[in-house]
Symmetry: C2
């Protein structure tokens, strides 16, 4: 298996590389432009070189090298000076964290994982420590590819496949999958594999393998690269209970080629969809300087790292601070099928792997229309080199329909503005599935976070003609198990300053009474300040919203504290039994809103090390249990939301986007609609065309 | 006041007009093209002429002439033949309903209102009857203008205004408003008026009068056109309780000009928004034949009437029936301020007035981008003539981002389609406020109904420096009272046929148990068929959805009945006390979902006559109380949804769109994603542009 032998870079090679780079370290690393700029490829390479120098002669595998953003106190001092138009008096040291395995021997798989902290400004490895007891390192593409290559060559795997009586020459494809633990101390380094095949009728490299699931799930020990077991995977129906179904003699003969690539469509493609183009003849309304974006009074920075992908930093509107940092912190995708080994299907796509790692390299003309800017993102190769994904994040403007309109019926004059938005988008591919995440800024001061779930369902085999209570049969022989997608946003607010509070507000009926409500139509709002770190839930039937306020600044008209309002998404929370390991691992998924006191290290709603964790360690539940003040303080607001996915047949072979959106809207932050100065929509600028006139002009029947 | 004297068309004029038209009646009315085509202007004129002929010598005021769609049995027979490609064997008679006042005398205001039914096919007035006991006719623009003109000339009004010490030469503007009753038998024909003024500093005809509210609310009796009272309107703050506040000597001097028209912006307009155009070089993907629309396997008809505005009829996808009729049935906007007379602010914008009546005449290049088709809508003048609003409804395609995507990480090949939608849109102006309603059809078989609330808040005066528990102060002296917008969709389903059922489905955890859920991750769906007419509520925490199924047709893969799924909007329901008149009038607003057995006359969730009704008469509550079978039957599904509007300062002077959406999605209706045959997105068709390249080409730095 030559494809993965390159990971075994010799100590000698490492030393050579080190010598080349060391001379450049000092001058180069001083050159970073802004403390929030993501690491460059060179910075990554330098950091790994410094680490390697501490273990001369050892074999390495790098998992990541990532920026440690400056401590908030230091950073806000810098940003305050910057916003005031001054040259910041002190540039913070450039600190990075690396995660890497050091192999025990020159050959073999046994390794120990370390966290290293490197100060690039001083060219020093500041700290190095093994992972905390019980923690497992996140998955890496390298390890997964290596393990898979060893698996497919193994006797155990070949024997198991032989028993399936697959058609001759069938091509098996495998998705390595996180091993979702089911009990404490399951062992920190395991990997499971979901197995599929190309349909023999086309054997197409882009065939939809998820329509041909194989009823086996191999498990491997990553410290030994040995096959632990080839677990049989149930293919029975509801009538079979927890037995494994009656695998037919030919396991997959009832599966069909249910393809998504255009050239494999049996009924061809639609021919009546005409092009629709977005044209911006005078260019974009945004400007980009490095990672700094300015657009329609907004100003923010687009950060990036291997774990969160795009991060939005230091957001101001018209010179006023709004949010310090916005990011998707993590997510969990637990499956509801209790039949072993399916019960272990629970992914934490950011913590177990990484949104930056999984980000698509976007293509012009496919993912967005109009004038597009791409931000690159640097990642770390297994050998520790920096490597750039050129189109990791895209930025563009969208027309989102009408922004505001009023027609004065007295004069019949309509004034209308369109709703232009600026979109920062990234798309993740996590094996079968795609997530499209977009931060959208509008002209009325609101920020929206949109998720689009698409891609291919994670499927398993079901015997011919059966149905199952654990999922829906979406194609012959294909069971799409019920599952959930539960996201958690981390919101570091800066509503007109660094000291904020959260107010829970509801609309409440008053009972009929002569004094307060004689006719019974009255209702009021009830507000409750969250004083100590705690959670809360969405309650749409009460119109419950959460206002992030600055308790020291007031709106001149309403006299309310200035605020941004979070209208929580109301999706169902985690369904796993509270006593389950699945629930212990994802306590963040059990309430919609969490308010905690800011700490620099509190980045991860489900804890830092999610892979194979048997509990959420250092996540939001632990944070609130510190019982800290969150009133008029430096706080964090976390919003958990998502969907329970009961798959439809229409979600296969690739599912139409399922869209969810969360909004942060100014509520008495401004003294009027901040979009009131957007120029009115006009035919002069928009150049719309009448359908009848277009047709007439094409048919030559007009003005000829 | 000459502007309203034209309403007093003499009997002689009516007779002349009748003679002219009668000769044309028979040949013309046979010519209607399709039973679902809206009435033409000529049909309206003919119908009113036939009615006038029954009351020769009488003065008339027409409120509406509207199509009575053929009885469903007759209509479905026609549509079934049509769908089968046959010439329908029987064309239903063309029936219209008219509502009109016949004045008691040649002069004076006293009148009686009638419902008339006219058969245009036979040129006969089939029936004529007075309005039901206690019912009031809906508002008409004519009556409102007449009443207002009389009001402003009245001594009572002039005296009341004089007491306000308004600046000299100030221009008062008045919005006639429905009189929301507060007790049974309040009298069937009253009108109230909300009074405002232009700001004296600009006296602009398009000034935002809602920033200068006057603290009086006149009431008139429409049978006598006499001023009943000029009610003082509270301008106090929370500290004033139910007293009326301390009107300052100069009532409105603390109000400012808070304007929305571009030329009145004190800080100017933004200058950095570049044009963004939608270009469809090969034309539209839809075709239009009369009111028939075909696009991307969808086929439906766009109906229209004065009350609902656009109605979607006879929807099929790829030749299969999906929905028979889709419409917004009605809405209510109750206000939560208990201070008399504000407690009577409760609008039913469709039943009290009419969405078609209030529809904007849309303008090319303002309301939509790209290639636009407009549908006209015919209305009835007060004299009974048909009058056409040319651009009442618009239809166009929109790009709504990514439709589906999958990247095969093995080959790095991404296949992506964009999410093109077809949008049928209308925009209502109801005095201060705007509603944008859009039916959106997507390529994956889903239909969405989107509401955008915009326009100007209905405001009242508040004394300087005060705040109120009944609303938010959005501009100096301007209180925007808390209120709700509660809509109700009427869904007449035809899921693969005429006999359907509704299934309520939830995702439900299982407790940990060795037999069924050993690891605690399991969950299942629970389904419950609604058997007799009843209501249900949204329950997002249970992932509750409502599937409209055809219990006789099954998906070949899942074996489930074919269905469309309604994911209910979870907005807060009516806040008015259940014992209030406000609640009795809007029982539809107290539950999210209503399932009733179809009857032809069941069109109105809040009853036919909402204006001044003191209870919802013949609405959904009455329908469910018939206790009829709704399983495997001809059924109606009603969906109530909306928002509690706690106004923000940012919602003034014109509010940014507040968007809500309800979706009807196929769920095991198709045998796969119906959008899988959409051609992949490509740069060839989309012609996107790189930001950097655009800038380089403009600056001449590239390839020069």
């Amino acid at each position: 298996m030559s494809s993965f032998s390159a990971s075994l870079n010799s100590a000698a090679q490492a030393n050579d590389r080190l010598k080349t780079i060391q001379g450049q370290v000092h001058p180069m690393t001083q050159q970073y432009d802004h403390p929030l700029d993501p690491l460059s490829a060179t910075e990554i390479s330098v950091a790994s070189t410094l680490i390697k120098a501490k273990h001369l002669g050892k074999r390495f595998q790098f998992r990541y090298v990532t920026l440690v953003e400056p401590p908030k106190k230091q950073l806000t001092a810098y940003l305050d000076e910057e916003l005031a138009g001054k040259t910041p008096s002190q540039k913070p040291d450039r600190i990075v964290e690396a995660l890497y395995s050091v192999f025990d021997n020159e050959t073999g798989w046994s390794y120990k994982c370390y966290e290293g902290i490197v100060n690039l400004t001083t060219s020093q490895v500041v700290r190095e420590q093994p992972l905390p007891e019980g923690a497992a390192e996140p998955l890496s593409f390298r390890t997964m590819a290596t393990a898979q290559a060893i698996l497919v060559e193994s006797r155990e795997f070949k024997d198991a496949v032989a028993k399936l009586n697959l058609p001759e020459n069938i091509v098996i494809e495998i998705d390595p999958w996180m091993y979702g633990v089911d009990q404490p101390k399951a062992g920190p380094s395991r990997l499971s594999f979901l197995c599929y095949a190309r349909h023999p009728s086309n054997n197409h490299p882009d065939g939809n393998i998820y329509s041909i699931p194989l009823p086996i799930i191999p498990l491997m020990d990553l410290q030994t690269m040995e096959v632990l077991s080839i677990e049989p995977a149930a293919s029975g129906g509801t009538q079979d209970g927890f037995t494994y179904g009656t695998h037919p003699e030919k396991a997959i003969d009832h599966c069909i080629a249910n393809e998504y690539v255009p050239e494999l469509q049996p009924r061809g493609l639609r021919k009546d969809l005409k092009p629709l183009q977005v044209v911006q003849p005078e260019g974009a309304s945004f400007t980009i300087k490095g990672r700094l974006v300015e657009w329609q009074k907004w100003r923010f920075r687009v950060g990036w790292n291997y774990r969160e992908g795009a991060v939005i930093h230091d957001v101001t509107y018209d010179g006023r601070r709004v949010f310090h940092r916005l990011s998707l912190s993590d997510m969990t995708v637990p499956y509801g099928d209790p039949r072993t080994p399916y019960h272990r299907k629970q992914a934490f796509d950011l913590g177990d792997l990484g949104a930056g790692l999984s980000a698509n390299n976007l293509a012009l003309g496919c993912d967005c229309l109009g004038l597009i800017h791409y931000f690159p993102g640097a990642l770390t190769t297994h050998t520790g080199e920096g490597e750039v994904k050129g189109n990791a994040v895209c930025l563009h403007e969208q027309d989102m329909g009408i922004g505001w309109k009023h027609t004065n019926y007295r004069t019949d004059r309509a004034v209308l503005t369109r709703n232009r938005m600026l979109v920062v988008q990234q798309i993740l591919t996590v094996a079968n599935y795609e997530y499209i995440f977009a931060w959208q800024f509008d002209q009325a001061g609101a920020i929206h976070f949109e998720t689009r779930a698409t891609g291919i369902l994670s499927t398993c085999l079901i015997d011919p003609g059966k149905v199952s209570e654990w999922g829906n049969v979406v194609s012959p022989g294909v069971l799409a198990q019920y599952h959930q997608h539960i996201f958690c946003l981390r919101i570091d607010p800066a509503i007109d300053g660094w000291q904020n509070s959260v107010v829970q507000e509801e609309a409440v009926s008053l009972p009929i009474s002569a004094e307060r409500n004689p006719f019974g139509n009255a209702f009021v709002t009830e507000k409750q300040v969250i004083k100590t770190s705690s959670y809360a839930d969405a309650a749409p039937h009460k119109n419950r919203v959460f206002k992030i306020i600055n308790p020291s600044k007031f709106n001149p008209h309403s006299k309310n504290p200035v605020s941004y309002k979070l209208v929580p998404h109301t999706g169902q929370l985690l369904l796993a039994d509270p006593g389950s390991v699945a629930a212990a691992r994802a306590r963040f998924a059990q309430h919609h809103i969490w308010v905690t006191k800011h700490r620099d290290e509190d980045l991860w709603c489900a804890g830092k090390y999610t892979n194979q964790a048997f509990r959420e360690d250092g996540g939001v539940q632990d944070m609130i249990e510190r019982n800290e003040n969150v009133e008029n303080d430096d706080i964090l607001v976390w919003h958990t939301f998502g969907m329970t996915h009961i798959p439809r047949v229409e979600d296969f072979p690739v599912m139409p986007v399922e869209i969810h959106q969360v909004s942060l809207k100014p509520a008495d932050f401004f003294d009027r609609n901040p979009a009131i100065d957007v120029p009115a929509s006009s035919q002069l600028a928009n150049k719309s065309v009448l359908y009848d006139e277009f047709n007439a002009s094409k048919s030559g029947s007009c003005c000829s």
